[in-house]
């Protein structure tokens, strides 16, 4: 096994964590958006029927006193989707739920396999090694089946095919081959080299391992490296699309942090060019002014509208 695989292993792990972190940080640091909540907002105490604090008269007072939000619901709802793909199960009519579930669980178990395998390098207990092998085989089987059915579905469903880009197929084939390689390592009895490979990566010492293991880890490491730049990131994104956007019902109160952020954002300059916009002014200015020629044209005896 060449030095390349050792460095590639570390590089891919660093890319996976740092790349994902930076990507998510970038999303997280985007400006505070306008409220765009969509009910049911799961942390609302009335979430069972999709109600909100705005159902109450004087809700501002209620908010001031403190709402009884059930924040754990945000986590539970995200986990339900991550673990069981609830919405896909309930609403997808293209038969994507079962293969997607297999594929997702294939990935989760694959990470479990890696975790257990690394553990086994340090503590090579028989039980741990056996367990990691089981994880590896199950991950491989689930992943192969899931990605293969998904590829077929996307080829044979007219509706899905229209939307599936070559890159989407590339991603699915990448997963298929990665899981196939994982499964092959076990089927062709090369799995005993897995710990040797991981040990060599950890100790930076090259060793000879089976080609099955090299292919398996090459694909897995490529997956890790590629993850932050790909659509695979849709998993952690839910925290933002759901928790930080669709369930963000936080009210602006004078002087609170949100109020100050918004005041700053209203000072951003905007350059929209339509006739009714005023290019180069801040949001606060454009919101409180009309173009000069539009002012005072209100037919009545009242002062100008803005």
């Amino acid at each position: 096994m060449s030095q390349f695989m050792i460095y590639f292993a570390w590089f891919s792990v660093i890319c996976f964590f740092v790349g994902s972190f930076l990507k998510l940080l970038k999303i997280n640091n985007m400006p505070l958006h306008l409220r765009a909540e969509l009910y049911p907002v799961v942390h609302d105490s009335k979430n069972s029927y999709g109600g909100s604090y705005m159902e109450d008269m004087n809700y501002v007072e209620e908010v001031r006193k403190g709402l009884k939000n059930i924040w754990v619901n945000d986590i539970i709802e995200i986990l339900r989707e991550v673990l069981f793909l609830d919405r896909v199960n309930e609403y997808n009519i293209y038969g994507l739920w079962f293969p997607s579930l297999l594929l997702h669980w294939g990935l989760y178990i694959l990470f479990g396999w890696l975790f257990l395998s690394v553990f086994s390098v340090f503590w090579p207990f028989y039980f741990l090694i056996q367990l990691s092998s089981i994880f590896g085989i199950v991950a491989g089987a689930f992943g192969v089946l899931g990605s293969f059915i998904l590829i077929l579905r996307r080829i044979f469903s007219q509706e899905l095919r229209l939307y599936t880009t070559p890159l989407d197929f590339f991603n699915l084939f990448l997963l298929l081959f990665m899981f196939l390689a994982t499964l092959s390592t076990f089927l062709f009895d090369a799995n005993h080299d897995i710990l040797r490979y991981l040990g060599s990566v950890i100790s930076f010492k090259t060793v000879n391992v089976s080609n099955f293991v090299i292919v398996q880890f090459f694909l897995f490491q490529f997956f890790l490296f590629y993850f932050p730049f790909s659509k695979f990131m849709h998993a952690p994104i839910k925290y933002w699309t759901w928790h930080a956007i669709m369930w963000d019902d936080a009210l602006t109160m004078k002087g609170n942090k949100q109020d100050l952020i918004l005041q700053e954002q209203l000072e951003y300059k905007q350059f929209w060019a339509a006739p009714h916009a005023i290019q180069g002014t801040s949001w606060a200015e454009v919101a409180t002014n009309l173009k000069v020629e539009e002012r005072g044209n209100n037919n009545g005896n009242k002062k100008t509208t803005l």
């Binding site: 999303i27 409220r35 159902e55 004087n58 939307y163 929209w272 919101a287 409180t288 009545g300």
Partner: protein
């Protein structure tokens, strides 16, 4: 069958036929209405064919959008579209929605789980171009092609394969006006992508950068409101006449004397109606006045320009116009020294002011300083206070409730209106699905007011189709025209859409259906009212 699956790049091509055509056979069935008896589809006329680019679906929402005449004009359009998209992707020019846009563009996994939520898509017979993802996929392809390194390098491999020319822009502009922005699809997306709001982002680009918007929304909508005072064209002086007329008319019909309080400083509540109510449904603001007076509420209206019209069409396509209207409303309330501003029965206006406005109004105009609320909780509070005696038996007719998307799915105001109906309408029943999962009336996002060319035909046949079917199903045991039935729609825009499709499907003659708000039902059941308030003959 005319279900077509046009490849995305058709949007930019010279075509001989529209990308999709509406045909009766494809449309969803409606309970109690035989397709053969339905108003037939008008063929696309020569005026449309000769004047517009009609190759999306033969219908025109943007009657003010004429094809460019010269190559320079064509190039200018493309240049502006790209500069608009660049601004849409910029944190300063588009702080209001950037996070929603970027996550939506980058992380859709194209699973199509969202599609079956869409009433437009389903009612059309699942016409591909109306799928929630179709229009967004086109935007995504343009974005990839011009704004991502992978799109520039790898082109069609990553899906960056739609040509951008004036036809792309015009057809996309039409296509984003085939979405009601109801956000029902977003409830179902496993990733949290909001195709409704993404469609709105395309509208924002068109409006804020190119000034492209249906006349009724921008030129005769927000612009008129901000310069004249109301999108209806009502000036403060004309408003005075209307209010006097409503006062007299109410007295004549009911014997109840009302006087709209105007600019009453220090009142508890500033009530702002959609000014369309004064013009089209004067019994609605009159009912508010009857209820508020009977309940002893301290309230006022304003006759300041903008202050007597709650509408905020910027909600549908323009953050600049939205911010202007929100600020104006809040300042008027602040100047009057009221404790809170309440929006009458108008969904989009309520959401624009209470929810969207919450991140535009800061400091002294923030929610903590002047509260902004929907009228529905207040109406339930009036009932609960016991200040007015109601007799539910006066509402002894079948009633169903329409949930306006903006107040229900988008604000979570679900129960107050139901509590009121439970108390005053013994024969009311839900339509299905309902509450936050309800379908749009088909008039959302401006469609209710867009009356140009053949667009109303598309709206009535396609986007309102699910709603009429839902209504008729709610009354399926009592469709007999001998039984008068009431659709309670506490929203001006929804009422506008319902008015039109009731006429289109001849609902008065066939089923004896009428519609109106919640306040009319409340006043109708007031013990003190000598005559019925709801008139069954008009709509």
């Amino acid at each position: 069958m005319a279900i077509k699956r046009p490849p995305f790049n058709d949007i930019s091509k010279d075509l001989k036929e529209p990308m999709a055509t509406i045909e009766m056979d494809d449309l969803m069935d409606i309970l109690g209405i035989d397709k053969k008896e339905e108003t037939p589809l008008e063929p696309i006329n020569d005026k449309i064919k000769n004047t517009y680019d009609w190759y999306l679906d033969g219908h025109i929402a943007l009657g003010n959008l004429y094809p460019p005449k010269t190559k320079e004009e064509e190039n200018e359009l493309v240049r502006k579209f790209l500069s608009g998209l660049e601004k849409l992707l910029d944190p300063k020019n588009n702080w209001p929605m950037l996070q929603i846009l970027k996550t939506g563009l980058d992380y859709c996994v194209r699973c199509q789980t969202c599609s079956e939520a869409c009433h437009v898509y389903i009612a059309s017979g699942r016409q591909e171009i109306y799928r929630p993802t179709y229009r967004i996929e086109i935007l995504r392809k343009i974005y990839k092609k011009y704004f991502t390194p992978e799109g520039k390098l790898l082109g069609s491999f990553v899906g960056a394969d739609v040509d951008l020319n004036w036809k792309t822009i015009y057809r996309l502009a039409e296509l984003v006006h085939r979405c009601n922005l109801c956000r029902r699809c977003a409830q179902r997306c496993p990733v949290g992508i909001d195709n409704g709001y993404l469609a709105r982002e395309i509208r924002v680009l068109l409006s804020q950068e190119l000034g492209i918007s249906p006349t009724e929304i921008l030129e005769k909508g927000s612009r008129l409101q901000l310069t004249v005072g109301s999108s209806t064209g009502l000036s403060p002086m004309a408003l005075k006449d209307y209010l006097e007329f409503i006062e007299e008319d109410t007295y004549e019909k009911t014997g109840v004397k009302i006087k709209f309080p105007i600019n009453k400083k220090g009142a508890d509540i500033l009530l702002i109606h959609n000014a369309g109510e004064f013009v089209s449904w004067p019994e609605n603001p009159a009912a508010f006045a009857i209820l508020f007076d009977a309940a002893g509420i301290s309230w006022t209206m304003s006759d300041e320009p903008v202050g007597y019209d709650s509408i905020n069409y910027g909600l549908w396509n323009d953050d600049i116009e939205a911010a202007r209207v929100v600020l104006r409303h809040a300042k008027i309330g602040k100047d009057l020294g009221v404790k809170k501003i309440v929006i009458g029965e108008c969904g989009h206006a309520t959401k624009a002011f209470c929810v969207v406005g919450d991140r535009i109004l800061t400091g002294d105009l923030g929610s903590s300083e002047i509260s902004r609320e929907s009228c529905l909780p207040l109406l339930w509070d009036i009932y609960k206070s016991g200040a007015i005696k109601f007799d539910p038996s006066k509402n002894n007719f079948p009633v169903t409730l329409h949930d306006p998307c903006n107040m229900v799915r988008n604000m979570g105001i679900v129960m107050p209106q139901r509590n009121v109906l439970n108390a005053i309408a013994p024969r009311w029943r839900e339509m299905h699905p309902n509450g936050v999962y309800n379908y749009c009336c088909g008039g959302g996002s401006g469609f209710a007011i867009m009356q140009g060319l053949n667009f109303p035909q598309w709206r009535n046949k396609v986007s309102s189709r699910m709603k009429i079917n839902q209504i008729l199903n709610a009354f399926k045991e009592e469709l007999d025209p001998g039984i008068p039935k009431y659709v309670c729609a506490p929203c001006s825009n929804c009422k506008g859409a319902i008015r039109d499709f009731f006429e289109h499907y001849k609902c008065k003659e066939k089923f004896n259906l009428t519609y109106g708000g919640l306040v009319e039902l409340m006043v109708n059941s007031m013990v003190d009212m000598e005559k019925p308030y709801i008139s069954w003959d008009e709509y």
